[in-house]
Amino acid sequence: MTAQILVVDDEPRYVRLMEANLLTEDYDVLRAYDGQKAVETVAENHPDLVLLDVMMPILDGITACERIREFSNVPIIMVTAKGEERDRVRGLDVGADDYVVKPFSATELLARVRAVLRRAESNGSASFQQPVFNHGNLKIDFTKAEVFKDEKMVYLSATEYRLLLQFAQNLGDILSSEDLLMNVWGEEYRNDKEILWVSISRLRHKLEDDPRNPQHIVTRSGLGYTMPKI
């Protein structure tokens, strides 16, 4: 089966360059010119590979990669400019599989694409969760990082959103305070339970009909918290 590759760059000439070369290898090519469009295209078309530029308007490549990872494990190759080592590391940290450094030669690009596709194939095909998550009257749109309660958008801070994702991505699992603190705030906060309490309380006030009798984020005494399967 022909692999479908999404090429993302705000410079049309880069998109054209990558597209022209990929077509010679009989790949199908999808195009996007900003990060937001890239996330949406991944959600809609389930490509087999994404070539993702870092410096882009609207949504940069790093954030786009992060968003895609919230619902998909599609292989991602970051395309970065030389000298942006920090971006390469950050890209790999947020879940990119490989990177190509600009300026790159056509053959190098194609070799990387082949290698990543081969690796992905041996790991089984890319999986895509629904880009929209529903839990009762709660809805999360991973592609736009937006949360709705009874179809009305709820404003969450970045930390609150990351905390909510922990529950949505581990539906039914009990998550300990330490794990939540480490995953959302970082290693140095692992014992800072009060900060978690404040944030859980804030989330409940925003998302629950009755914050004292929560349905979405439930306390499991002595163990942690969970978002129960409905």
């Binding site: 300026p103 030669s105 056509a106 053959t107």
Partner: protein, 421 residues
Amino acid sequence: MTENTIPSDLLNLQLIETLDEIGEIILRAKEIDSCIDQIMKSVRNIFIFDNVVLYLCQKDDHLEPKYARAIGRGRSSETDLAWGETIANDSLQKNEIIIRKEIDGDYTVNRMRLRYFIGLPLATDDEKYGSLVFVRYGGPPYLSDQTQLCEYIARNISLLLDRINLNQTVDSLKHELQLKLMQDDFVATISHELRTPLGFIKGYATTLLREDTSWDDDTRREFLNIIDEETDRLRELIDNLLDSSRLQSGTLRMEFQHMRLEEILKDVCIRAQTFHKNQEIDLEIEKPGITVQVDPARIEQVIENLLSNARKYAPDSKVKITLSQENYHAHIRVRDFGPGIAPDHLDHIFERFYRIPDQTKSTRGTGLGLFICKRIIQAHNGEIFAESIPGEGSIFHIKLSLDLSRNSDKRRTLVLMEEKL
């Protein structure tokens, strides 16, 4: 309430009011002199003194008087007065309050010869700022609650000095940071701007060089055109960088000669329309034959830059160039009918590295073009400025002095003098 307690209560009330006032003064103070003036005025209701001096440490650790007032007895004695410099030094060195009595001759004849000093260090845990000295002639000696009051004043002044010091440090750090950010930003922009065309050249060249595939003629031509255009862009960028740095260091040479401005403008327009067929340019010469003494290549560069900006920022708009004469000036107007420039940015667009934030991501550029234009026009003793109505377009005005000495036909060479930004 007995009669005995009333005066003491009154005194306490007055003391509290004074302390409160001092706190308030310190809180609002922006600089030291007027602040101490206010404190002294406030404190004199409950504390008698004749002279007060504030000494501040200099870089070499010596004390210099920063503030001095003779308020009480002996105001007319001026410099003969005692200013307590020794006690100021002692108090700062030992970092403690020093009370000293000094007799200088027969004080029964002149009570100013009997002096009571109180020296207070102005210091915080980390920093020594100086000393505060109060002088009282002829007594009475300072009482312990008065000493405490002085200590309170000195501590508050130390806090104020600390704050002023911190503010100065913050200001200078902010300034340094801003310079550094501007530089970093410039380096990042330049490296991005240099790498982008390089990336295309490398990418499309290696695409054409691929041995495992062949390209049809149209595609090959398309790729070669891209390589060609990107090479031009790279060259233009490097030229701009060199010009900008030469203009900055004052080493850009200009070759001035008598020229008819309309000839220069016509040349630029013909060239622009050859290379950019989509750009519609309307050239209107209101007064033919205007002669100026200019470096024609540089003036062409300025007009070309304005046309290139119009292509970038007002891509679908036609450009109207008008040449007219006003008194002793030639006046060139380059007008586009694009989205215009917001007033906030209009004042800054000629600054080196300045780019309008919204456009930084969407349009390529380095923030050098208009800076170069301005410097070139300045080197001609001319003037360049812009006006714009958002939504209606922008007009760039260039005014150049008319050449009134037509008989001198000599070329002259001018090296721009270094000018600070």
